[in-house]
Symmetry: C2
Amino acid sequence: MGEDATVSRRPNTPKSSTKPRLSTVTSEDEKLLATYDPSKFERPSVTVDVAILSVVGERLITLLHRRDSAPFRGRFALPGGFLQMDESLEAAARRVLLAKAGLRDVYLEQLYTFGAVSRDPRMRILTVAYFALVDATRITVGHDASLPERTLAEIVVPWAGETGGAVEIQIEGARTPEALAFDHADILGTAVKRLRGKLDYTPIGFQLLPEVFTLASLQRVHETILGRPLNKDSFRRKMLASGQLEATGELQQGVDHRPAELYRFTRRSAV
Amino acid sequence: MGEDATVSRRPNTPKSSTKPRLSTVTSEDEKLLATYDPSKFERPSVTVDVAILSVVGERLITLLHRRDSAPFRGRFALPGGFLQMDESLEAAARRVLLAKAGLRDVYLEQLYTFGAVSRDPRMRILTVAYFALVDATRITVGHDASLPERTLAEIVVPWAGETGGAVEIQIEGARTPEALAFDHADILGTAVKRLRGKLDYTPIGFQLLPEVFTLASLQRVHETILGRPLNKDSFRRKMLASGQLEATGELQQGVDHRPAELYRFTRRSAV
DNA sequence: TGAATAGTGTCTATAAGACAATATCCC
DNA sequence: GGGATATTGTCTTATAGACACTATTCA
């Protein structure tokens, strides 16, 4: 940030006289801080929200909480929390993942920062949104005393390709789409758009599958995310040519047809 | 943000009793706010920084300011400023562009939010970084009483492709790279990485050229950003096939060889 | 044996790279 | 005319899609 030195762009903010005292501040700096005090500025609250995405069957799903307080009481919302002063943004996102969904060691990437002035009716709150990819076998919504209530919801994407925009959320059994709290439908839409874009040139789809998987299941994951069918032959060729798949030599079990070979991602560490 | 309702995750924050009063808050909400007050949380400062990129000759350049106060006094930094409580993030970025570089109506896109705990030695400051693309003819660094001092600096990218990482900054005439303030070399590196990625599938390169341009100059822009030579034939074919170029019928003037035809971008509005 | 999906091989269409030939301007 | 770059056309190679055929499992 190129914070200005001379500044008093905000005459309506109270002129606080408390200067920050940090061990890294030298005595020369101390003098300068007298004329430049960032704490003069009003500050927004900052939260971190995580769009946890997974593919179950042929559906793109996400994990939500029902809000039990205002604003948007009763609406579903992404898991999130306030950024603490001693943690990085990513650390906050990982804390949220663990505390609210019981997930650790998942693929996590910063998505976008949402900062519309009135996105929260109470006060100015920015949210730094992340998205996480989790294979279906790791998401649980059963009762767990150490975790808050969770709900899995289907993401229905009402636009093609990478058009972008809000998505619709379909709760199991419900007939109409569920309106989400805040701008969370936009956040999920942004996550889907980003994921679709990445799928073409990165092996990110593997993050949504268990350790070993068949090429057909990988293709179904891609198709579910992209929302369109893919050519089987070229999908197969491209994946094998990418050098990122490793044949395990094992075969699929328990299917009523010829079993497919199981593959493994060669760099599971790519988080 | 899925802010928790019951909360008191931060026992060390002062329990403020000032509840926000907003016209959109209903009386039922008022009651709930008694048990849930986001202002209880300590808040970071938030700035917006803008990486202004341009291509001049065969060089990728950016616009910097020299800091005249601590921290990083004397170092160059990106233009930036504190987010005001009544403006959106993008509005803040556009305000910075106008106030610090005299630029308006330029391509602007949110890049990434940088939030390492100690990125500013004084206090916790997040910055939401944006990048702007400006054609070379619009960047001025001459003296202008309404603008702060500015410097154009060359961006030297020490990595290939989309590897990512900090870039080096070369100030005109200097022999060694210039160390930037804060994490601004990382921000610029992130901007270059993003730009390289977008160049393959979006017409974003046009934003760096004047209204009309030749195919050769467009190719030079692409090559400068990508840091590698491109095949002339296929570049030409791909651009013309994209349907985003429109021949003006005019020819280049004042060259000592056969003049090239001038083209125009068909959707300059794509900001 | 038949249903179902896996996996291989071949052909074609399309896009990318290489290269040659011609065009047009200024000096 | 000579130098320099633009523009067009053709050939070759790589990649993607289409399709036919064989393979393997279970019911």
